[in-house]
Symmetry: C2
Subunit: 323 residues, 2 copies
Amino acid sequence: MNMRLLATAALSALPFAALADPLPSWNDTPTKAAIIAFVERVSDPNTAEFVPEEARIATFDNDGTLWGEQPLYFQLIYALDRLREKAEADPSILKSDALKAAAKGDTDTVLASGQDGLLEILNVSHSGMSVEAFQGDVADWIATARHPTTGMTYNQMIYAPMLELLDYLETSGFQTWIVSGGGIHFMRAFASETYGIPVERIIGSATPTRYEVVDGVPVIIKDPGIAFVDDKAGKPVGIDSHIGRRPIFVGGNSDGDFQMLEYATAGDGPALGVIVHHTDAEREFAYDRESHIGKLEKGLDEAEQRGWVIIDMQNDWVRIWPQ
Amino acid sequence: MNMRLLATAALSALPFAALADPLPSWNDTPTKAAIIAFVERVSDPNTAEFVPEEARIATFDNDGTLWGEQPLYFQLIYALDRLREKAEADPSILKSDALKAAAKGDTDTVLASGQDGLLEILNVSHSGMSVEAFQGDVADWIATARHPTTGMTYNQMIYAPMLELLDYLETSGFQTWIVSGGGIHFMRAFASETYGIPVERIIGSATPTRYEVVDGVPVIIKDPGIAFVDDKAGKPVGIDSHIGRRPIFVGGNSDGDFQMLEYATAGDGPALGVIVHHTDAEREFAYDRESHIGKLEKGLDEAEQRGWVIIDMQNDWVRIWPQ
C-alpha cells in the first residue's frame, strides 16, 4: 500500500484551509517554519538562494527517520525470524554461539556478538539466493510480520509527518532519495511502494553480488558478506556513486547520519539538515545518547553551531503514524 | 552543448512528414522497423506485450555505442594526454616501463602492458584528487581536445541516429540509462550534458572513493585502483545496484555488452537487444572480431538465435555525426 497516496487521499477530505498547509501533521513550531522557509527560498527564482530543480536533491535516512527502529532494526528482526524458521527445520545450521543465541531470541547476546556475529546471522537470510527470491521473501514478511509491542505491520510504523515532508519536497521540485544503513535489496522490496519513491532512488548497504545464468535464466545472486556499508562516512560515498550530486536537504536521526548531514551543509550554497529526535516515549520511543540503536550524541552536540534543525517528535508532530 | 536539444532543434526546421518519423537519421530498413515495432508494442496498453512506464528501462553502453572508441577508448586518450603533461613537468613520475611508453605515445606497448600497466597510467590522472576537481579537468579536456584523425572534439563524435533513439525512447515513456565500461566520474563530467541524460542515470567503472573533510569542506576523494569494473558480467551487477530493475531495451556494440544483453532478453516478457556493428570504414571505422578495442564476436555469432538486432552502421544509418 502506498502510504503517501493514502495520506493525500485523507487530506483531500479536509477543508481548503488545511489543504493550504503542506505539513498538516506538524505543529506550528519554529521547526516547521524553518523547513517551509527553506523550501520556499530555494524554490523561488526571485531569491538569491534559488536552486534549479535538477540540483534540488533531498536524501533521507530510513531507520529512525522514516520508520521505527526500536527495539531492534526491523531488518534484524526479519533476519532473526528467518533464522529461527530455518533452524527449526535444520538445527545443524546453528554453527556458532551467535547463531545459537539468535535462534533462542537472546538479543542481548546477539548485539554483544559484534560485527562478526551479526554478519553470520544476516548471511543465513541474506545470501545464497537471487535478488528476486530474496525480495519476494522480504515482501512476504513485511505483509505479515507484526511489531512486538505495537502489533502493527512494519510498513505501518512509518512517520506520517515525514511522509508529508517527502510529498512536500517532491511537489516543490525536489528529487527525494533514501540513503539507508539498511540493505539496498531489503529496502527496495518495500520502500518504493511504502514511500512512493522509485527503486533506483533507494540506496543502502549491500552484500556482494554476482551475475549468473541459472537454468537459462540470468539472475543476480547475493553472496555472503558485506560489500558496502552505507553508514557514517559511507553515506556520502553512496550518494556520490548513485546520485552524483550533493544534496541540499538531508534528514537523519542518528550519528550514522552525521557525515551525510555534514556533506550537504558544510559547503557553499543553501542547504538544510534536519534531525529527528526521538523524544516521545508515549506515542513512540524516547532515546538518544545512551541508545545502542540509533545513538544520537554528536548530532545533538553540534546541531546548533552547524545550523541543523532538531525535530522534537513530542512537540513538533501532531501525530506519529499515518493511521 | 546538449546534442539532443540541437538535434531536436534541427528537426523542427524540417517539414511535417519528416517530423512524424521518430528516427530520421535511420534508413528505412528492417532494423529501424524492428525498433519502432518493439517500442510501439510495449507502449500500447492494448497489446499483450504492454509494459507500464516504470518498467520501461533502457540501458546503453557508451564506447562504440553512443560515441566512437577508435583508435583508443577516448578516456584512455585523456589519461595519456594528462600523463604526458605531468611527465613534462616532473619526469620522475615515470616509474615503470608502461608509464615511460605511455609518455612517449607508444600505445602498442601501453596496450601490451595489460591490466597492471593500464592501471598505473589511469592512476596518474584518475586518483589523488576530489571528484569535483577530476570532473572539472575532464570537462576542460572534452572542451578542447581533438580526435587524432577526425579533428572533432570528442563530444562531437557521438552517433546522431543513437541520439534520436534515446530521444524516441524517452518520449515513448522509457527511462534511458548509460551503463558504460568507462569510468562513472569521467562519464558524468560530459555525458549528462552531451546526451541529455541526468547524472544519476550514468553508471560506470569506479575507483575506490572515500569521504574526507579538507580545510572544512567535505569532499569525495578518488583513490588509486579499481573498485568496480562495469563491463561484461559487471554490467548486470551495476544495473541491479543502480537501477534495481531489469532493462527491457539494451543497446551495445561489443562482447563487453553480452551479459547486459543476455540479462535483459533471456527472461520472460518483451525485451529488445540491439548491437551497433561498426561496418562503415568510410564514414567512421570498420571493426569487429579481430579488434582489440570493441571486439565483437560472440554477439555476432549468437545474435540471430537470441533475437538481437544487428545495426549495420553503413546500411542502417543515413548519417553518423550530428553535424
